[in-house]
Symmetry: D2
Subunit: 213 residues, 4 copies
């Protein structure tokens, strides 16, 4: 399972979480940390797999305030989230941001609200898609329990369009059992956020997450 810890704009210590993640040893789980863009270099310096939370659909040039895919690679990112429910993109911009990420050598996970949108973004050729029902984000009730059907349907929707695209799920995931349940529903990975980012002891939180896998 791929476990992507999204630090959002939380008031946490990104390097402490990154160090904790880099120490977590699991034969079955790969952990990556997605910090603020400004924290990418410090996080990547710990040796942990590092992801961007977003890149803009631009090529190098006059784009003040944008996030260039090549710049996040320079800072140590190996992949990027796109179209997170807190950073929804225009369809044409998801397409162009995927092109930017490919050009820079970033792996990509495109988020979507529901199985129809999962099918839509799968058609754009990302490495992975992630289904995150917006109403479950931050609730503490895991999508795998609150709405297992949406995970199964997302997996089917993606496979019908392109079986080579991985499917992740997110929203409310906070325990190793949640991750295992997501795997049972056909997911290849999970997105999680506050459960780790806001934990008093991120390393214990992460170990408890990946140990049951």
């Amino acid at each position: 399972m791929f476990v992507l810890v999204n630090l959002k704009a939380y008031a946490c210590d990104p390097v402490a979480v990154a160090r904790a993640a880099s120490r977590v040893d699991s034969a079955t789980a790969t952990v990556a940390i997605a910090p603020q863009t400004a924290h990418l270099r410090a996080v990547a310096g710990t040796g942990v797999r590092t992801w961007a939370q977003h890149v803009d659909p631009v090529t190098s040039g006059s784009h003040t305030g944008s996030t260039l895919a090549e710049a996040v690679v320079d800072a140590g990112a190996g992949g990027t989230l796109l179209n997170h429910s807190e950073q929804r993109l225009r369809l044409a911009d998801i397409d162009a941001a995927l092109e930017a990420a490919d050009r820079a050598g970033l792996q990509t996970v495109v988020c979507a609200n529901n199985p129809d949108q999962v099918a839509a973004v799968t058609a754009l050729g990302p490495d992975a898609v992630a289904v995150e029902p917006p109403e479950l984000i931050g609730t503490g009730t895991p999508v795998s329990q609150a709405d297992p059907g949406v995970v199964r349907e997302a997996v089917e929707a993606a496979q019908e369009v392109d079986p080579s695209v991985s499917v992740y799920c997110g929203a409310g995931i906070s325990t190793g059992a949640d991750i295992a349940a997501a795997g049972d529903l056909g997911a290849d990975g999970v997105l999680l956020a506050s459960g780790v980012a806001k934990a008093d002891d991120p390393q214990t939180a992460l170990t408890e997450l990946v140990d049951p896998l």
Copy 2:
């Protein structure tokens, strides 16, 4: 004069430009570099004054893909551009982003197209405003020469609203004579970009800029 070099999303080496800028010695000019957010930490590591190109109007929390003011401070930024013509913001968001920057201890320069907009953003209480006629950006014809009236009117417009706010100008500035001319028109600083960022030898370019001051 304050000289803010905006590296935008140019395909340049931000650390090389930063090193060059940190070596430029001038009794009359203060140089700062505004790189990609992902490059802030590397640029700040050179010891140069480092600025962000943008921060989002958010407080810490669930804002995936946003740029938190505190995060750019962590990475070494001391100030931020806001509302650049390539990153235009809603009025309410300029107000909230200024609040975020103040909270994090960042200095602020808010850009505007014309003297009316300069008056408008001055009313929001930034440290400085910058007038950049969009039609002159990237032309190589300096605003101080193409439209000196707009610089004078911007200075007057800002002073009428709040004399404590500094006024910069930008667009087409590439020589020390352009900067001196901007100062003669009442500007306290300039924004420039491609002239330095794309120079074969950024240090020579910067030295030629600040020497005539």
Copy 3:
């Protein structure tokens, strides 16, 4: 007092509200109705003063899905709201939309959250500004009662920048006493919405609003 009834996207009968408003007779109040753009022509057909809720910062041309100022004039609008808290605009677009409205002969009311933003939009030269604290919209608690200071400060802020610009207030206004209180605080008009639009009998609601004036 100017009383602008914003029908937003409410599921109301805009023509019934317009007819009611056109029958309200008051020596001291001028009532206008701002319906959905698609309802402008039917509303204007009742003879009531008709306003748009928004126009886009464009001139005629290739702008599919935009709202051209001239088109809302064709449909009978005499004025337009701009930058309502539910339709926040970029600063440069408020400026350009004001230019579009002037070009088409529309009166303009630009909304703002607080006195600083009121000062900012006043500098752009609208006919009127309206202060609407977002946290009071739709609460039923009138701004004139919940936060009289914000109305007074908005009036002062606008007058300091340009005394020829009228100042309205909005948020939570639903009775004639609320309107009278707004007038006592220095406002030249009010924005209201659900109190009339959702009333079982809009004419009675409107008469009760303007009778105490």
Copy 4:
């Protein structure tokens, strides 16, 4: 063939174009006019098939300045464009706007730049999709001639995802031969704009368009 004439924000007489379109008689072509939202009622009054250029992804409520699907239906629209290249939407908003259109009983055509995006929007279940390479819009060179492959691939991409969804094409189409060529490539309809909207004699322009079919 379905022929959708998009009047954009052109400075044309929408009622004159609508009257011309309502007089065009063709056994093989169905003509509809998509005017400014403010012009919908006047255009629908001519009896011509009338379409909106856009509806917002909202339900009735507090959405000042939005375009409610039910309001454009009230004004006489029978369908709506969505995601035109001049009005690009977030993926989640295309999904929600389709839901709004279905709820109100509007037919839907979702635009897309290329075959991948056509596949993506087809997965969201519109009545039709339209491929319009942005670089050809307004050029006068028809997509069916400049890039026939993109039309064929769009037809294939849509059919693979959902064969019940119609496929239109647009960009540069201005003659009956262009429309016939689009039909030969598998398209069920075309989007056109300036060729009719800006014609000195729209009825002659339309007759010449549909006669060769």
